[in-house]
Amino acid sequence: MSEVPLIRLADVTKVYNLESGDFVALDHVSLDIMENEFVAIMGPSGSGKSTMMNQLGILDVPTSGELFINGKNVAGMTNLERTHMRRDIIGYIFQKFYLIPLLSAYENVEYPLILKYKQRDMSGKAAAVLKSVGFDEDLSAHRPSQLSGGQQQRVAIARALVNDPKILLCDEPTGNLDRKTGFQIMDILTGLHKEGKTVILVTHDPKIAEYAHRTIQLEDGKVVAS
């Protein structure tokens, strides 16, 4: 395994300029995440979990400090380079699934392939990935609104996986699911970790966090345990 961490936060601070004054969401955080780790990020609400996810997902840049992902300094990248990195290196799995409502289940999975290769998928990869997460093939043509929560999250995972990313960022992936379906989804994520993915999981459910091999505890924007 590589000695260079896949993700490195070096003294990262994120400050939001609010009307009520500056709010420090991340306070001098330093952290390394190696390839093929399974990390849970925990903490009470307002502790900086979401801000951390936005940083790791390159949706935002630090106010100060340095963030390296896959060996690249995020602050030095152009907007387009960040967009391409989100597309190619990171797979996102959200609590609310965030599927594209106008596209069918199949098209939602095919979409990142189209973004990357600028053409429709002829390889059958989208269908194969959908099948691998246990999605019922008969539902491929359904729009997200016609699917159950568990089915939607399977589609979302398939969408996150289809461009073969190194990192899977999961923001409360079971938060909108019943207990049983939640554990099914966690089993899928565990399997993906075994296949070599780096899985980062934000949750406040200790039962879910137990799946991870390392837990990072956040409080008031600081890492209190890692």
């Binding site: 997902g57 935002d60 967009t83 597309r87 996102y92 965030y98 594209i100 409502p101 973004l115 429709r120």
Partner: protein, 397 residues
């Protein structure tokens, strides 16, 4: 390759079908306004121009103002002489040359006195260039045909006798008999002669009464081909005016140019009025596009966060504006032909020029302008969508 962003736009339009259709109606109205106004103006121009150019194929030659030579007692004849006429005929080639005598005089019909112009024409010329609406062209020397205005004012009929000349000069005034009545010609006489107020007699009768035998007041050259106008004018000028200017050569082309340019500004003006409706359409498209962007904030957030380029998000919304524009333009184009035809036929009463390229071009032109206006209206909403912060956008409900 089928573009997924185009697919997304089509689906968005379908999803909000009613709203999209209503916005497109604005474009339909705009396209119809531009096209039919443009066609109305163009048809008007074409018709007027054609009426005017009917008279432009005539070159009018009149004697020039001649200064008497110092010390010379001979008065220069105030007319075009027989030898000058021969020169004109030579220079005019195969075009028709018509010498005309004309004067203003008094005349009487029974006890009613009047005043008008008397014109003398060669009998053969008369037969060739004049189409009477009633009766026939003169055969005898004392036969006359009269213009429409003079005929209606003095209630002239075929067979009416007209005494020509001032009553106090001659006790026995010469008499002509009306054998034909000309139709109203108005401004656009096809041979450059306004006969509405004239009594037209044979040149031999005219010379006998008014003198000036072998001298003409005016010579018209009717061209077979309008494009030879300046060449023929130059030839006549070189031949007749070779020593000094003895005749003045003129035509109506400058009048046509000035009327055409007036009508062209008028067309521009009504087109501008039509464009106002497109401005209104642009506002409604803008409104619908902003609604579409605002309703899909979260979707835009999803697209951006999973790696969609800004340009791709922009493209998706511009496609949507384009689709609205195309729908509006196609419906508008079809309606333009129907409405434009009705407007032209109702307001001008002549649709002979409607399908000419100069006129019908306003349909595709209006359609293209409609689509461009739509895309233009979508620029800001598309820009706004593509520049959203994905984190903020994802949080929107």
């Amino acid at each position: 390759m089928k573009d997924i962003f185009f697919d997304l736009s089509v689906r968005s339009v379908k999803l909000n079908f009613m709203r999209s259709l209503l916005a497109s109606i604005g474009i339909v109205i705009g396209v119809v306004a531009i096209s039919s106004m443009g066609m109305l103006g163009t048809n008007m121009q074409l018709i007027v121009k054609n009426q005017l150019t009917a008279g432009i194929n005539t070159i009018v030659i009149t004697p020039d103002v001649v200064r008497a030579e110092p010390g010379s007692t001979s008065t220069t004849p105030t007319g075009i002489t027989e030898s000058q006429l021969r020169d004109i005929r030579d220079a005019a080639g195969t075009n028709t040359v018509i010498p005309i005598d004309r004067t203003n005089t008094q005349f009487s019909i029974g006890s009613v006195d009047g005043r008008g112009s008397i014109m003398g024409f060669d009998l053969t010329d008369m037969k060739n260039i004049m189409n009477v609406s009633e009766g026939s062209t003169p055969r005898g020397e004392s036969d006359a045909i009269v213009g429409a205005t003079i005929a209606s004012r003095f209630n002239l009929k075929i067979g009416t006798r007209i005494k020509i000349g001032e009553p106090n000069i001659s006790a026995t005034r010469p008499v002509v008999r009306v054998v034909g009545i000309l139709p109203t010609i108005g401004m656009s006489s096809s041979n450059g002669i306004n006969t509405d107020n004239a009594i037209i007699v044979s040149d031999t009768w005219y010379s006998a009464q008014f003198g000036g035998d072998n001298v003409y007041d005016q010579v018209n050259v009717n061209l077979k081909d309008v494009s030879t106008l300046s060449a023929v004018e130059t030839a006549i000028d070189n031949k007749v005016n070779r020593n000094k200017d003895v005749v003045r050569i003129s035509d109506a082309s400058s009048r046509v140019t000035s009327v055409s340019s007036t009508l062209s500004s008028l067309t521009t003006f009504i087109l501008a009025i039509g464009s106002i409706s497109l401005l209104v359409a642009a506002t409604s498209i803008f409104n619908v596009m902003m609604m579409s962007v605002n309703e899909r904030v979260q979707e835009i957030g999803i697209l951006l966060s999973i790696g969609t380029e800004k340009g791709e998000v922009r493209r998706m919304f511009l496609y949507e504006a384009f689709i609205l524009g195309i729908i509006g333009a196609i419906i508008g184009g079809i309606m333009s032909i129907v409405i434009g035809y009705s407007v032209v036929s109702a307001m001008i009463g002549n649709t002979a020029y409607f399908f000419l390229p100069e006129s019908i071009i306003y349909v595709p032109a209006g359609m293209i302008i409609g689509v461009i206006v739509c895309i233009g209206s979508g620029l800001y909403p598309a820009w706004r969508a593509s520049n959203m912060d994905p984190i903020e956008a994802l949080r929107a409900e």
